[in-house]
């Protein structure tokens, strides 16, 4: 009788504890993106220098699309790596595009000056582009291949290694199975 009760408790208790334990290993803020492997949502944005740019114009090039804000520490952490990668790849068929969200214009300009960023940046004041890309944590980076398809998404700070590897994949048109994750801040 006693051992039967013990078995019953284990049968119910162990899966329950296992499910709870599994829950603790997961990030409740993480929102898996359905966008990888799909066509990148089209948008146009006015750059900091006043020039307009639209994603459709960049067809045929690999696009590195980075959402950021000046108040977000991981964005600061990756800023130098991003600029270094851009200087290495500029002149190739690669376009780096930064989209500033949930920020002030002074803050954004100060950030670009501080890290001496030379790739194109624009402000998405109403978060329309961010919502279109399902942004929930910044920095968030999308790699878009020549046909306008999203091949990889990374939430959180990027390092040069990942940038080079994923740019190479995007050139080949190879889409990743999973998105990457690093240190990020939730959007406001």
């Amino acid at each position: 009788m006693a051992w039967r009760r013990l078995v019953l408790v284990f049968l119910v208790g162990v899966p329950l504890v296992a499910v709870l334990a599994y829950g603790f290993t997961r990030d409740p803020r993480e929102i898996p993106s359905p966008l990888i492997g799909r066509p990148a949502p089209p948008f146009s944005i006015e750059l900091m220098d006043g020039r307009p740019v639209s994603l459709a114009d960049l067809r045929g090039k690999v696009v590195f699309l980075n959402f950021w804000a000046s108040w977000c520490p991981p964005c600061r952490a990756e800023a130098r790596d991003l600029e270094a990668a851009w200087r290495q790849h500029r002149g190739e068929d690669v376009v780096f595009l930064g989209v500033n969200i949930q920020d002030t214009e002074t803050g954004a300009r100060g950030f670009l000056r501080e890290f001496d960023i030379t790739y194109a940046n624009g402000i998405d004041a109403r978060n329309r582009i961010a919502i279109d890309y399902g942004v929930w944590g910044i920095p968030e980076t999308f790699f878009i291949d020549r046909t306008g398809r999203i091949t990889y998404k990374h939430v959180g700070a990027l390092g040069t290694g990942t940038i080079h590897a994923k740019l190479a994949e995007a050139r080949e048109g190879v889409a990743s199975n999973r998105e990457g994750k690093g240190d990020y801040r939730s959007v406001q």
Partner: protein
């Protein structure tokens, strides 16, 4: 004299203005309601446990604006939901679709409820069956003895204190029953219980007196009679129903109805939500529609301070916004700032030359405050050329007739009431 006339005229003006502006606002309210309907089904990506409708985060605010735009563009709520799912995945839906792993969320609670009910029923049946084999506990001869003792026959002197107490209790029971203090059912139940106990006690005493080595009768504690089982069953069912009912009503009653609204709405206080002031949240919004309706509500409540704040905020965002200018003009007129009121009405009319509230208010300022009835009449005639409600038309026509009767030079045209 002038101010008295002016303020009573203004109240009429505000009332009229609300009527004139009603159709447009009705449409806005409907749009807002549909937006909230969609937004309340979407999970806010920032705060996780709030819907997009309830969250005050910047992203949720922009999502609400996006939903409004899409509704205005003629998208259906289904299409808008599908749009958000295509961006954030099914994660964004507060109620997951009943497919795949999401099906579990829908089925598990029902399964658990069925299992729990089944278990409870089984337990109850076991309970109810127990007393059926119980009453064999007492020896019929001992019972007879007890009854005789209660009736006052037999030797009471030989009894142990425990038995005496039980017999006393039985006598009291009978007395209470006769006095009508005990129902027949309760009496029967209690009598059976005590008689059995007394009989057992007697039997035990007997055996002890005989000093026999025989094992005492299996003194299985008096099993509860079946009536008690049913009482438990009633309590259990009652608790279950209470849980279901409170679960249903609490979740319906306690939720945020609007930005900064009460979580109970009018459910507990009886105050209709429309009568409750919008909080500073609405006023700090950057959405023109939200601000305009907040200003509107403030005017209905006669909270002119808040109304002015709301319209001023609109004009900060869009200095030429006609409706806000018209309202601001009326509020300025009410405060006695006729020239500034006139300027506000003119600003409203440059953007929208046929805006009824602005035409009405401009005429009012010209007629009541500045003593220029001819100009007022001209402005009002423009208003009369528009499509307005019959009642308003009569009201304006009467004022036009009144203004025509006054000579233009009189600076205070209003007679005392």
């Amino acid at each position: 004299m002038t101010t008295a006339r002016s303020s009573s005229g203004l109240l009429a003006a505000l009332a009229l203005l609300l009527v004139l502006a009603a159709p447009a606002l009705g449409a806005d309210d409907d749009l807002e309601r549909r937006m909230r309907e969609v937004a309340s089904g979407l999970r806010c990506p920032v705060c996780q446990n709030l819907s997009v409708a309830e969250s005050t985060s910047e992203l949720a605010r922009d999502m609400r604006a996006l939903i409004l735009d899409q509704l205005r563009a003629g998208k259906t709520p289904e299409e808008i939901r599908a749009y958000f799912v295509s961006k954030y995945g099914p994660w964004i839906l507060l109620s997951p679709p009943a497919r795949g792993i999401g099906l579990l969320v829908w089925l598990l609670p029902a399964l658990a409820a069925v299992l729990a009910l089944g278990g409870a029923l089984l337990a109850l049946r076991r309970w109810a069956r127990r007393p059926a084999r119980a009453p064999a506990g007492a020896d019929p001869a001992a019972l007879e003895h007890v009854r005789a003792l209660v009736a006052g026959e037999g030797a009471a002197g030989t009894l142990e204190p425990e038995e005496t107490a039980l017999v006393e209790t039985l006598r009291e029971l009978e007395f209470d029953h006769r006095a009508g203090k005990l129902s027949a059912g309760d009496y029967a139940e209690l009598r059976d219980l005590y008689e059995r106990r007394a009989a057992e006690a007697l039997a035990r005493a007997e055996e002890a007196r005989r000093a026999a080595a025989a094992a005492p009768p299996p003194a299985a504690a008096a099993p509860p009679p079946s009536r008690r089982a049913w009482r438990w069953a009633t309590v259990a069912v009652g608790l279950f129903v209470f849980g279901v009912v409170s679960g249903y009503f609490l979740t319906r009653a306690v939720r945020l109805r609007s930005d900064g609204g009460s979580i109970t709405g009018d459910f507990l206080t009886g105050t209709p939500e429309s009568a409750m002031p919008r909080s500073a949240a609405a006023l700090s919004s950057r959405d023109v529609g939200t601000l305009l309706s907040a200003g509107h509500e403030a005017i209905v409540r006669q909270d002119y301070q808040t109304a002015m704040t709301a319209f001023t905020r609109v004009l900060e965002i869009d200095p030429g916004e006609p409706t806000a200018n018209a309202y601001k003009g009326l509020l300025l007129h009410r405060g006695g700032h006729s020239e500034r009121a006139l300027a506000a009405f003119d600003l409203a009319l440059t953007r929208e030359p046929t805006l009824a509230p602005a035409l009405w208010g401009k005429g009012l300022v010209l007629y009541e405050a500045l003593g220029r009835p001819e100009e007022a009449v001209r402005v009002w005639q423009t208003l009369l050329a528009l499509k307005i409600a019959d009642e308003d038309r009569k009201h304006v026509e009467r004022l036009v007739a009144e203004a025509r009767a006054k000579p233009a030079k009189t600076s205070t045209p209003a007679p005392p009431r």
